[in-house]
């Protein structure tokens, strides 16, 4: 027998989640370009859309364009995009570092891995977006926090969608290798037209509206316009988005586990090149 009897490994360990979060925090702390990248693009977006809103607001219906619909949509779009990207970036760091084999051979469970990625998605989101919301207030007088409870609804629904997409993308990369890396950067842009970020869903043709209403962000951005233009908090839309998100998360987690199993069959977990 061994010198010390082996201790059973718990089915869920907060310590293992903490270990992985620590790994990503070490990485962020050690790399200022990574920190700058988190803030850079949201700031560029906010400034661009902020000035566009100023310009259009002077020549069109000020009720519509002066209410912050554009800049609010831009900030919430970044919540959606950054929540997925933050999730996927932490995952990709493991692939770039060729560390995935070490993690997969450790007692870390898939659920713990995903939870750590969720935590890091939130960390990256806050590091990237909080300074930008302050700048939006200072430069354009748009206070996203004035959305109050609506902001909490919007934020929750958007990050849930971002994580669901991030989970599927991670599974696809595990199964297909780094040749699928581009998905992590581009897949969310499909939500830009279909999620009706900058225009009402009624603009779309009928058949496309049906598809749009299958996506939680559509409900969020419709809700945002209702709140900033009509001053109405559409909790019905938020609850519908939440229900769809729960389904998406369950489906994406199941897809991730299936893709991991397929990767084990294909032998692609140790060979993660192109």
């Amino acid at each position: 027998m061994s010198a010390a009897s082996p201790r059973p490994s718990p089915a869920f360990s907060p310590m293992r989640v903490y270990a992985l979060v620590t790994r990503y925090m070490y990485l962020l702390r050690s790399s200022w370009p990574r920190l700058v990248e988190l803030v850079y693009w949201p700031t560029v977006q906010m400034v661009t859309w902020g000035f566009l809103q100023l310009h259009v607001g002077q020549s069109a219906n000020p009720l519509v364009f002066g209410a912050g619909a554009f800049i609010g949509a831009m900030l919430l779009w970044d919540v959606l995009f950054r929540s997925q990207l933050g999730f996927s970036m932490s995952f990709l760091e493991e692939m770039w570092a060729r560390n995935m084999g070490n993690l997969l051979m450790s007692p870390l469970r898939p659920g713990e891995f995903l939870l750590a990625l969720v935590v890091m998605s939130l960390v990256r989101l806050f590091v990237g977006l909080v300074p930008v919301t302050v700048l939006a207030m200072a430069f354009f007088g748009f206070n996203v926090y004035a959305l109050g409870l609506g902001l909490a609804f919007f934020f929750t629904n958007l990050v849930l969608t971002g994580w669901a997409v991030g989970i599927v993308v991670s599974g696809v990369i595990l199964r297909n290798g780094m040749g699928a890396e581009g998905l992590a950067w581009t897949v969310m842009f499909l939500m830009l037209p279909l999620g009706c970020v900058y225009y009402p869903v009624s603009v779309l043709p009928g058949w496309l509206q049906t598809i749009a209403w299958m996506l939680p962000p559509t409900y969020v951005f419709e809700g945002l316009r209702a709140l900033v233009i009509d001053n109405v908090l559409r909790t019905d839309l938020m609850l519908q988005a939440f229900a769809i998100n729960l389904g998406l998360l369950a489906a994406s987690t199941a897809a991730f586990l299936w893709l991991v199993q397929e990767a084990r069959k294909a032998g692609s977990l140790l060979q993660q090149g192109e």
Binding site: S2, A3, M100
Partner: protein, 251 residues
């Protein structure tokens, strides 16, 4: 109660479409034994190890670790094993101490700071603990990888080319450490290596693979005697080039 062998491989086969990487092999690694897995490139060593780790699913057959089927029940035993492989790396931007801390927490190692200090002393890492892993020499990286592989005091250690790229002095030092670890923990070790002197020194049993099958196996002394050779390297070449054992070749 008798504990199952550290590794029990039974009729293990892995096929990728028409290519057969591992073709129905069976072997066991008892507790406390060091078994060498030899074979040329493409012989099936890495696929075999990957199936023992549970990272690749067999097409048929089983790979069990301490009685647990690694295809279906690997989580029950992962905390008792560890590995070192050239196919993986440690995050480069993290310091050695940070990397060992992360993996120590993943494995639930108690008194982790003391454990890291002990490993650093054993593996001569103390001076480089706070250096980023990406700035280390090849030899230092190998020692760090070994420290990671030993962080949880594994009962089963899978080593894939553990002394590749090391100078002779450092390689000898690492081998001594592996020998000490095995003696101290009664750990089972499966060693894949192309260094025949290393295999001869460390292994109780040697398995030679060719084209996905076990071409021969035995103790180093048995193999040398059977092939009438002075070194395992000559035995390896005989197997690789299709020359049978001397005993078989004799009419």
């Amino acid at each position: 109660m008798t504990e199952p062998p550290a590794i029990a491989v039974q009729s293990l086969r892995k096929a990728y479409r028409k290519a057969v990487a591992v073709d129905g092999i069976s072997f066991a690694v008892p507790r406390g034994a060091v078994v060498g897995l030899l074979g040329g490139n493409g012989a099936g060593k890495t696929t075999t190890i990957a199936m023992i780790m549970g990272l690749v699913l067999p097409t048929s057959g089983t790979a069990r670790v301490f009685g647990h089927d690694m295809a279906t029940d690997r989580q029950a035993v992962l905390h008792r094993m560890n590995f070192e492989s050239p196919y993986v790396d440690m995050p480069h931007r993290l310091t050695v101490r940070q990397n060992l801390t992360v993996f120590g927490r993943l494995y639930g190692v108690p008194a982790l700071k003391d454990k890291i200090a002990g490993l650093a002393a054993d593996l001569d890492l103390t001076d480089i603990l706070d250096r980023p892993s990406g700035q280390l020499s090849a030899g230092q990286k190998t020692r760090v990888a070994l420290a990671k592989a030993l962080i949880n005091d594994p009962d089963l250690l899978l080593l894939d080319e553990p002394t590749a790229s090391l100078d002779p002095d450092t390689a000898d030092w690492v081998r001594t450490h592996i020998e000490d670890y095995r003696a101290r923990r009664n750990a089972a070790i499966l060693l894949a290596s192309h260094n025949m002197a290393e295999v001869e020194r460390l292994c109780d049993t040697v398995i030679i693979m060719k084209s996905g099958r076990i071409a021969d196996e035995g103790t180093p002394a048995d193999l040398l005697g059977r092939y009438g050779r002075e070194t395992l390297e000559d035995v390896f070449l005989d197997v690789a080039r299709g020359r049978g054992a001397a005993a078989e070749a004799t009419p």
